[in-house]
Amino acid sequence: MLALLAQTQVQIPEIVWSVLWPIVLLSIGGVLLITATSISPRLRVGSFPAAMTIVLAGASLVTLPLIWSKVRDGGGQLPVIADAIRIDAFTLLVTGIMCASLIVVSLLLDDYLRTEGLDGPEWYVLLLMSATGGILMAAANDLIVTFLGLEILSIAVYVLAALHLRRTKSQEAGFKYFILGALSSAIFLYGIAMIYGATGSLRLTDIAQFIASGNSAGLSPLTESSLLLAGMAMLLIGFGFKISAAPFHLWTPDVYEGAPTPVVAFMASAVKAAGMAGLLRVFIVAFGVVAEDWRPVVGAMAILSVVIGAASALGQDNVKRMLAYSSIVHAGFMLVGLYAAASGAAQTGTRSVVFYLFAYAVMSLGTFAAFTLIGGRGDQNHSLSAYVGLSRSNPMVASLLAVLLLAQAGMPFTIGFWAKARVIIAAANGENYVVAAVAMVAAVVAAFVYLRLIVTMFMISEPDEAGEAEASGAQLRISRSGLFALGIAAAATMIWGLFPGFGGDWFGEATRALLELR
C-alpha cells in the first residue's frame, strides 16, 4: 500500500501567490481577526475590528496596481491555480468594488454597533470573508468556484442580515433571505449539474470551446441539447436572485427593510456587484457563443425588472423599501446592458454593464450610508416623514444624500447619468429600440421616486409639524466616520460624473478581459 502511494507523482498545481494578495489578505485577515479578538477580549470592544477591516481592505486596494502590472505583462489575463480562477482587469475591478464597499461599510458599522449596543468582531469577519467569496465569484473560471464563491458570499450575508440579535425584524429578514437564497442556490446547482452533463466540463473556457465546436458543426443548443438550455435557464434563476432581478426580486424589499442598514449597504453594493460579475463571467465567457439562446430570457428579465421596480417604488413610504425597489430597477438596467451585449453590441454592451456595476456600487453605498446616519438609534427612522425638514437640521447630510439620489435618478454630471446613458446607447447600438425605450420610460418614472425624497428633505414643513421634525432632526447624532463614508461616496459620484474616464480605462480593460481573452 505504501509502495503504491510512493509511486504516484502528484502534479501539484503551481500557485502564483503574488496575484492572489487580495484574496489571501481578506480571508486570512478574517481568521486572524477572530483569533485575535478571542484571545484578547479587550480588542472586542472599541474600533479595533473596524480598523483592522479597513486596513486589510485598504491594503488589498493598494496591491491592485501591482497585480495589474503583473497581469498586463502576462498578456492581460493570468490563469491561476490549475486555471480555476482568472486574474484579469475584470477580477481586479470587482475586487476594487469589494474593498471599497468593505471600507465604507466598516466605517458605518463601527458607529452603528456602538449606538445599537451590539459588539463583536464577527460582523467584520463575516464581511471580510463574504467579500472574498465575491472576488472568487468574479474571478472564477470554474463553475465549482463560482458556486462556492456564491455560497461564501451569501451565507455570510444571511447571517449578517439576521445578526441584529435584538430586533425580531432583522431575524425575520435574515430567515426569509436565507430560505429563498438557499432555494435559489439549489436551483443554481441543478443548473450547473445539467451543464456539466451537457458539456462534460465545469471549466468555463472548456464549456465555451465545447459549445463552439458544436456550434461550428451547425448544432445549436436550442434545438440539439435542451439539457444545456435548461441548465442556462437555471443559472439565470440563481443569478437573478442574487442581483434581485424580477421575477426573482420578491425578497428584496422585505430584507432591505428588516436587515441592519450598514448590512443593506453591503448587500446593495458588494453582493449585487459580485452576483452581476458572476453572471457576466459565466454568460459571456462560457455561453457567449450561444448568446442568441439566452438573450430573450435576459431581455424579459430586464424589462420586468425596470417596469416592476419603478412601478412599485412609487407607492412606498419607507425609504429602505423604496431603495430596494430602485435597486431592482438598477438590476434591470444592468440586464438591459447585457441584453444589448448579447444582441450584436458586444463591446459597448458589456462595457456599459461593467461601468454600471461600478456606478451602482458607489451610489448605493452612499445612499445607504446616509440612511444609516438618518436611521438613528434603533434603526427606526426610515419612514418618509422622518425626512421632512432634514435640510434644515442636517444640511450636510441632506445635500450629500441629494447628490447621490440625483445620481441614482440619472442626473447629468453624476456617475448615474453616464451609467444609464451608456446602457441605453448600447441597447440602441444593438438595435433593441423597444427595450431601450422601456428602460428610458422606467428611468423617468423612477426619477420621480428620488425626487420625491429630495423634495421631502428640502420641503418647508407646516408649522405644527415643523417643531416635531426639528426636534427629531436635532437629535440626529451624525458620526464623523459615517459622514466621511458618505462624503467619499458622494465625491466618487461627482468625480466619475464629471470625468467618466477618471483613473484610466479600467472598464475597457475589464471588457476586453471578458470578451477577448477567454
Binding site: 431575524q171 430567515f175 436565507f178 430560505i179 438557499a182 441543478y190 449539474a193 452533463g197 462534460g200
Partner: protein, 99 residues
Amino acid sequence: MLLNQFLGLAAILFCIGVYGVLTRRNGVMVLMSIELILNAVNINLVAFGAYQGDVGGQVFALFVIAVAAAEVGVGLAIVLLIYRNRRSIDVSEADLLQG
C-alpha cells in the same frame, strides 16, 4: 447505463423538494426540503460523472455535501434564534388578543 432514468429520478426529487420549500410552513421542514433538492443535484452529478467517465462529478458532489452541511448549520441557527424570540412575542400577542 441508466442515465436517463437517473436524471428522471433526480428531476422528480427536485420537484418534490421545490414543492416542499414553497408549501411547508415549518422552518425546519423547509430546510429539509432544500436538502432534498441538493440530493437531486448530487444524483445528477454522479450520474453524469459516470456517463462522462469523469471523476469531476463526484468531486463536485462532495463540495455540494459540504455546502449543504454549512447551509443547514446556519439555517437551523436562524430558526433557533427566531423561535426563541418569537415565543416571547407569542406570549405578548396572546395577551393582546384576550383584551
